[in-house]
Amino acid sequence: MSTTPLTAADYEVVIGLEVHCQLKTNTKMFCGCKNEFGGASNSHVCPVCLGLPGVLPVPNEEAIVKTLLTGEMLGCQIATRCKFDRKNYFYPDMPKNYQISQYDEPLCLGGAVTLDLLAYPKDAQKDPATVIDKPIRLTRIHLEEDVAKSFHFDDGTSGIDFNRAGTPLMEIVSEADMASAEEAFAYLSALKQIFVYGGVSDADMEKGQMRCDVNISIRPRGQKEYGTKCELKNLNSISGVRRAIKYEIARQIDVLGSGGTIRQETRRWDDDKGETTLMRVKEKAHDYRYFPEPDIQAVRTDHGLYDRAKERMPELPSAKKVRLTEKFGVSAYQAGVLAADAALADYFEKAAAPKPANGAAVANFLLNDFLATATGENPIPSLAPHFFGELAELSASGQINSKQAKEVFAQMFVTGRSPAVLVAELGLAQVSDVGALEAFCDQAIAANPKSVADFKAGKQNAVNALKGQVMKLSKGTANPQLVGDILVRKLSA
């Protein structure tokens, strides 16, 4: 056994994530109250979700279908029947002091989330150590009701808002397959993408629509046994999860490296302070006294619910990527960026559909020009898709050059006028007439003897200075490709 303290490289990190996802249904899981964010406190409540005497739960079929769809998208084994169980514990945010959940017969078992490169944080995408398309196995997915929201006031009292109580929650438990903070980040991004694709949730962590608990342990590289795990809570964003895990890895390495042992704890992440602190020591598992929910009859999923879910299967991002590259000739990278946002991909397809051969050009304008300056989350151009299609055609057919195209791009957003109209208005038609271009080239050659000499001396790049001159002389309308050819021809003669 080595006496030198172990370094970070000597450890392996083992991470499992437990994700709770709010389902985007109209009504709550077991009653008809609106499932809506916001609203005055205790305005979306009824006797059922308040747990008043005498009330009974009635399951929301749509929530079951959305959960089945999620399982289908993630390649899970789908249960043939949906049964609920009571999870018993006391807490003020629990209207009945039991939560209706699923214990031994979850709706979905197994399945996996594939970590696409684009799901990683940008810096990790460039890291050669990042494993492409690593599958993170899932243990299970089940359906349950959410609890109310507690508020603690300065005067020592607390208040409870039951708007959230009883809203449908999907719990996804992963196996401990993640090995880094970046993989955890990618897992959450990929999951969110799946939820958005399937229309099951908007999964915005900052709005609490997706919540995540991390289980993390480390062990010396090569050791078979798992180390003691700690649970991390209060993670409010995907990047926050990454930061918290990085901190915790360092903390655990520090403890072990200085000869200590890790205690099984639940730790709270403070994003402002950038640290996890002890919430409680996990002594033994809480006894929830699970038993089958007697108020709800088990329902067969193979009598229609599963079929309804399958009908809603969207084209998954991986399939969409392949189709975009094949049909529209975009690069794999571009296809990945487009597929990452279903609405953007949809916009792209509408823009490129009239002339698929221009697909790459449309993608360039959308990704390089539009996305580069657009603000907000998942932006979509405010103009109709055909604007992009038209611009791409003008550019691809050589009627305008790239610089002119950028000007038209900017102007079309400012004025709302179509590219064809703008080209005419701004007099931007690219000059490709050889005679006219030859005249400009002669002018530039005559005015720049040094560049000419450099070129003849072997400096091939000197032609660019001359090209620039021609562009100036032509007020930016010259076809740069042709200009380049003409200049080289003349200088080489």
């Binding site: 006797p47 308040l50 747990g51 008043l52 005497p53 005498g54 009330v55 009974l56 739960p57 009635v58 399951p59 009571r86 018993n88 006391f90 003020p92 209207p95 009945k96 002091n97 039991y98 409870i160 006894d287 006294r289 038993f291 007697p294 108020d295 709800i296 009859q297």
Partner: protein, 479 residues
């Protein structure tokens, strides 16, 4: 003309003919209550003005138009207190109507008062009420049975035309037997439980107390039916039970389970029931001996399953959102602990603790899981028996009414009061108790008729045939 002892059809006839107005019926009944209830203490609450207002608005063309019905204090009626005879709900006003209440209103009934019960429907004598015990109209020193003792005493004592009760292990049938009225528990899922403060979710059913079988049939027609708010209520058409009553029992096979005629039954009870069986024979029924071999496990199975379910159902009474809350709690655990310690009675606490225990880690398989398996066997016994007969005949209770305080020191002795009724709930089938005689000291004896699932028509037909051939339903207590 005093209407208080009329049957509902007789009352309806008088209302329809205009011989009496709904308000007068309410007034007469209120007078009767003022007269006898200080002795019986069947009612916990009665708002006569509210009843009069409802009576004035009653539509007498409806099937129950103008008929006052008393409600057990465990069923939610909007705007009325619902204490479930518990201190923990003292002051709680229900903000919504139970589905059965909506149905009664739609049928034109006049809601009339709330009746006493064992706290949270846990008990067999109504001595577990936080508000004092109810008396048996036939002997004021004796219990009326439980948990629906108030409803049984009110109907038996002619201070209600009919009453709703609930039956989880016999809580309608047993008090009906002890108070000489008709107590009906429908098949599980026949009547909606929405609005019934839950005791044991897989066993509870709302049912009726009436003076005659025909009235039970009438009320069942009104309150039965699928309810989208109750996922355990079954979507099955509701037959016109009143129209199949009069077919007699000729040619029917009536089973007598040998396990229900054991040592320990009061000999007068056994004699009355055997005489009833003879009456059926006289009327042309074929009497068949059957066996329900798992009967001996029913009480144990019940006290595992019912307590497990109630331990969870009663967890919501924590002082957070409604009901009583302990004063000046020092923290949340103190608030929970003292609220429930102060709010619940001893029997309720006993059952919550027992139910928590049988569900706890390490014991779930040995108790709860096992009990559910034996429950299946008990259900199997009945299914097999019903292949050989159309309905079963048993005593409802092993004894007539016992004295107040006689069994309160020994919970197990109290539990055995339900020994003949409990298996019916476990099997989810239907049962009715009808008067079948009196002991030498004029205490009522009940005959239980048990039908298979959805067998109410046959069960009521069998009940009606005996009733109409006997004088018991016409007897009035010496109040």
């Amino acid at each position: 003309m005093d209407t208080t002892s009329l049957t509902i059809p007789e009352l309806r006839q008088k209302l329809s003919s205009g011989a009496i107005r709904p308000r007068e019926v309410v007034d007469q009944l209120a007078t009767r209550v003022a007269d006898v209830d200080p002795k019986l203490r069947a009612y916990l609450q009665l708002d006569v003005e509210k009843a009069r207002t409802a009576a004035d608005a009653a539509d007498i063309t409806k099937p129950l138009g103008g008929v006052p019905i008393a409600i057990k204090d465990v069923i939610n009626v909007q705007g009325d207190p619902c204490t479930c005879a518990s201190k923990i709900l003292d002051g709680y006003i229900a903000p919504y109507d139970a589905t059965v209440i909506t149905k009664l209103r739609e049928a034109g009934a006049v809601l009339f008062g709330r009746t006493n019960m064992d706290e949270f429907a846990m008990g067999s004598s109504t001595e577990n009420s936080s508000w004092g015990s109810t008396r048996n109209p036939w002997d004021l020193d004796r219990i009326p049975g439980g948990s629906s003792g108030g409803s049984a005493a009110a109907v038996g004592g002619h201070e209600a035309f009919a009453a709703l009760g609930t039956d989880t292990g016999g809580s309608i049938r047993q008090p009906a037997a002890l108070c000489s009225c008709v107590g009906l528990k429908p098949t599980y899922g026949r009547v909606s439980r929405y609005g019934l403060t839950a005791f044991a979710s897989s066993l509870d059913q709302i049912g009726t107390f009436t003076k005659t079988v025909e009235e039970a049939a009438l009320l069942l027609e009104i309150i039965a039916g699928h309810d989208p708010r109750d996922n355990t209520s079954i979507d099955r058409p509701v037959p016109k039970y009143t129209q199949s009553l009069h077919q007699g029992v000729k040619g029917l096979r009536l089973g007598v389970p040998k396990e229900y005629f054991i040592k320990g039954i009061d000999p007068e009870v056994e004699k009355a029931v055997r005489d009833a069986i003879d009456e059926y024979k006289k009327q042309g029924a074929e009497i068949v001996e059957v066996s329900l071999p798992h009967t001996q496990y029913a009480v144990a199975v019940y006290y595992i399953i019912a307590t497990a379910e109630c331990s969870a159902n009663l967890a919501r009474f924590d002082g957070v959102r409604y009901g009583k809350r302990a004063q000046n709690p020092k923290d949340i655990l103190d608030m929970y602990g003292r609220t429930r310690a102060e709010g619940f009675g001893a029997e309720v606490k006993r059952r919550i603790i027992l139910g928590t225990y049988v569900l706890s880690s390490g014991y779930y398989d040995a108790y709860y899981n096992r009990a559910q398996k034996v429950r299946q066997l008990i259900g199997g016994d009945f299914r097999l028996a019903f292949e050989k007969c159309d309905a079963l005949l048993t005593p409802t209770s092993p004894t007539a009414a016992f004295k107040i305080g006689e069994r309160t020191a020994d919970p197990l002795q109290m539990y055995l009061a339900d020994i003949f009724t409990i298996a019916v709930n476990l099997a989810g089938i239907c049962g009715v108790s009808i008067p079948c005689g009196f002991t030498t000291n004029k205490l009522p004896i009940g005959l239980q008729i048990i039908g298979p699932k959805w067998g109410e028509e046959t069960m009521l037909r069998v009940a009606h045939a005996y009733e109409q051939a006997t004088p018991w339903h016409k007897e009035k207590p010496p109040l």
